[in-house]
Amino acid sequence: MKRPALETKISNFLSPLVVAGAGGFLVAIALLPKIAEAIRAQLGAMLPPTWATVANIALGVLATVFLVAQLPIFLIWFERKVAAHAQDRLGPMRVGWHGVLQSFADGIKLLFKEDIIADGIDRQLFRIAPVLVVMGAFGAFAVVPWGPGLLISDLNIALLYIVAITSLGAIGILMAGWASNNKYSLYGGMRSAAQLVAYEIPTALIILVVVLQVGSLSLQDIVAAQGDGLLGENRWLLTRMYGLNVVAFVIFFICGLAETNRNPFDIPEAESELVAGFHTEYSGMRFAFFFLAEYGAMWLVAGVAAILFLGGWVGPYFSGPLVFFLKTLFLVFVQMWLRWTLPRLRVDQLLALCWKYLIPIALAALVVVAGLSVQAS
């Protein structure tokens, strides 16, 4: 009998570990409030109050970074599976059980790839750009609450902070496009800049719609204002305001798609037009950074949409971080679903969509909501 190959052995050994790890991950998320409470109590008993707070925040940062860094590993595999099943095929099946190790294999491959910086490239900008993009996508997670009190920093201007720091990503893309000294990259960067200007405005208007109804920019407060679940006075925002919030939600989601540069708005990297757009010249880990940022941004957009309109961690039957996780996962799934179904818009059509339709509708929604809010108060 032929002995199983080494890869098979490794895969057989690692697959259960990864699946068990994912299960453990979910359990940990479900029990997050209790774990955090226990850690907080433990730290309070062990350290003086100031140091306890510092340690607490440090642990929170570590946990968030760990979480955010692990998410793309799962999401890339998930996306490939969604794509495959949309296209009547199986997707990754070879590396581990149902391909669960695929993302790790890809990551290892990218790590070992040669990091090429071609001649004529602006080396400093070229190196900074991916970092900025990742910062833009991951920095925003600092204010996203997973549950009551489960966040790094409860900023009272959290929404403003999110709008500001996610724009950093677009600057990174512009930088990458310019520094690459490649015409296709330049086109990608310029398109990204045009896109940024177009979608930021409706996003901001829709955020104002929410802020008007809740009266706070803090994501904690926004979720607290939707604390009654599906029914009741303080129900999810989506079901309030006679359907106006549904419109607002849809606009927010469309703008979110534009922000994550995904189909139908993957104009800056439009594969069939611009080869790979702004990251044409990138390889190895620098390329992987853009990739990570994309998945981080997807999760962020879905998470913020879930918080603003779907009540964050407040569920119809039970509440907690797991509810937030599932809602966000569902919205991420919708993003993937759209990506593998729709064709791509042309750049002028995206601008027309944003300037001619989304902004007026968002503005009208804002005015109506403002009027209704004044009336209510």
Binding site: Y184, A270, E271, S272, E273, P343, R344, V347
Partner: protein, 392 residues
């Protein structure tokens, strides 16, 4: 330096290329291809752009030149057939059929009814396979990935049928002078019928998924417009011509292989979502042609004579009398023709191919001017070029 001189000698036609000194302030030359994901092979296009707007476009051909016509002057008549297969490599059956028909015309061979029916069967199956590829990759050009794989799934079934028939999946060497290489295997017709039954709903599915998608029609229905007079002036043919609303199909106008006996329609562009002759019209003509091909295939399977030797008329030695012959057929890409001159010997004196893709490409700069970069991709895709046939 010797190496540098060699490189300079190989530099492509500089007289034809855009010159940097002719550019205005905001203009830029963008070199698209030959290694570009959407130029459908090794086409290179030079674009003079102003931001996203394309001011002018110049295609550079010849990256896949394989000297077909010169080769053909040095091989016997039968030996040319594998070379014709490699012209339009996604519709090999149609190419070799054209060549076989031309040589048969030269030698005044009349093939049997069964051979004619088989040839209709394979060339219509090939048309569906080729259109599936064209439509799938067109979706890919516009940014929709999923229809591509759905199309390839169906194309695969046709390739399986061909493999069963002649052992090859892409380059078949199937249509011989005076016959075909293999008779239909037992059970092949049943399998073909089964495929037709499975395939008809797929076209509807494709319509739902891609053809009438709002983004897709917005992207394609107003760009790359070829007015009917321009199409005729450039001698366009095939779906590209019919997309401009002109009813011309060699299968109807100059029938071969007994196409006059089949009942089918010629779909033309209707200008449903925009001006007539747009990319969308050309795309949709292909979708409609697949429906018509299914119709023809059903009839061909019904009419297929039970008996008949497919090698009956295959000549032992192909040695035509001095003379010349011109034969044309409707391939998936349009009117492919071969002009063959014989000097009475065992090898052709001259073989000239008339390539429909070359004609489509010669029109490209006319419709590319003033469009956006993304539209250039849409236009190339809608012309459905195969570089193997352009460069030969």
């Amino acid at each position: 330096m010797a190496s540098q001189r060699v490189y300079k000698d190989l530099e492509p036609d500089t007289a034809y290329a855009f010159k940097p000194e002719d550019l205005e302030d905001d203009e830029m030359i963008l070199n698209m291809g030959p290694q570009h994901p959407s130029t459908h092979g090794v086409l290179r296009i030079e674009l003079k752009t102003d931001g996203e707007i394309v001011k002018d476009a110049r295609p550079h051909l010849g990256y896949l030149h394989r000297n077909f016509e010169k080769h053909a002057e040095n091989i016997d008549y039968q030996g040319v057939i594998p070379f014709t297969d490699r012209m339009d490599y996604v519709a090999s059956m149609a190419n070799s059929l054209t060549y076989a028909v031309a040589v048969e015309k030269l030698m005044a061979i009349e093939v049997g009814e069964r051979v004619k029916s088989i040839r209709v069967l394979v060339s219509e199956l090939q048309r569906i396979a080729s259109h599936l590829l064209a439509i799938g990759t067109y979706g890919l050009d516009i940014g929709a990935f999923t229809p591509f794989l759905h199309c390839f799934r169906e194309r695969e079934k046709i390739l399986d049928l061909f493999e069963w028939l002649c052992g090859a999946r892409l380059l078949y060497n199937y249509n011989w002078v005076g016959g075909v290489s293999h008779d239909l295997p037992d059970g092949w017709t049943e399998k073909a019928r089964q495929f037709l039954g499975e395939f008809a709903p797929v076209i509807e599915e494709l319509d739902d998924l891609l053809s009438h998608n709002k983004i897709f029609t917005d992207r394609t229905a107003t760009v790359g417009i070829i007015p009917p007079d321009l199409a005729v002036a450039y001698a366009l043919s095939g779906p590209n011509l019919r997309g401009s609303g002109i009813k011309w199909d060699v299968r109807k106008e100059d029938p071969y292989c007994g196409y006059e006996k089949y009942d089918f329609e010629i779909p033309v562009g209707q200008g449903r979502y925009g001006p007539i002759g747009s990319c969308w019209d050309r795309y949709y003509v292909r979708v409609e042609e697949m429906r018509q091909s299914v119709r023809i295939l059903h009839q061909a399977l019904d009419k297929l004579p039970a008996e008949g030797d497919v090698h009956e008329k295959v000549p032992k030695r192909i040695k035509p009398n001095p003379g010349e012959a011109y034969a044309r057929t409707e391939t998936p890409r349009g009117e492919l023709a071969f002009y063959i001159v014989s000097d009475g010997g065992l090898i052709p004196y001259r073989v000239k191919g008339r390539s429909p893709c070359f004609v489509s490409m010669s029109l490209f700069h006319e419709i590319a001017r003033g469009e956006m970069i993304a539209d250039i991709i849409a236009i190339i895709g809608s012309l459905d070029i195969v570089l193997g046939e352009i460069d030969r």
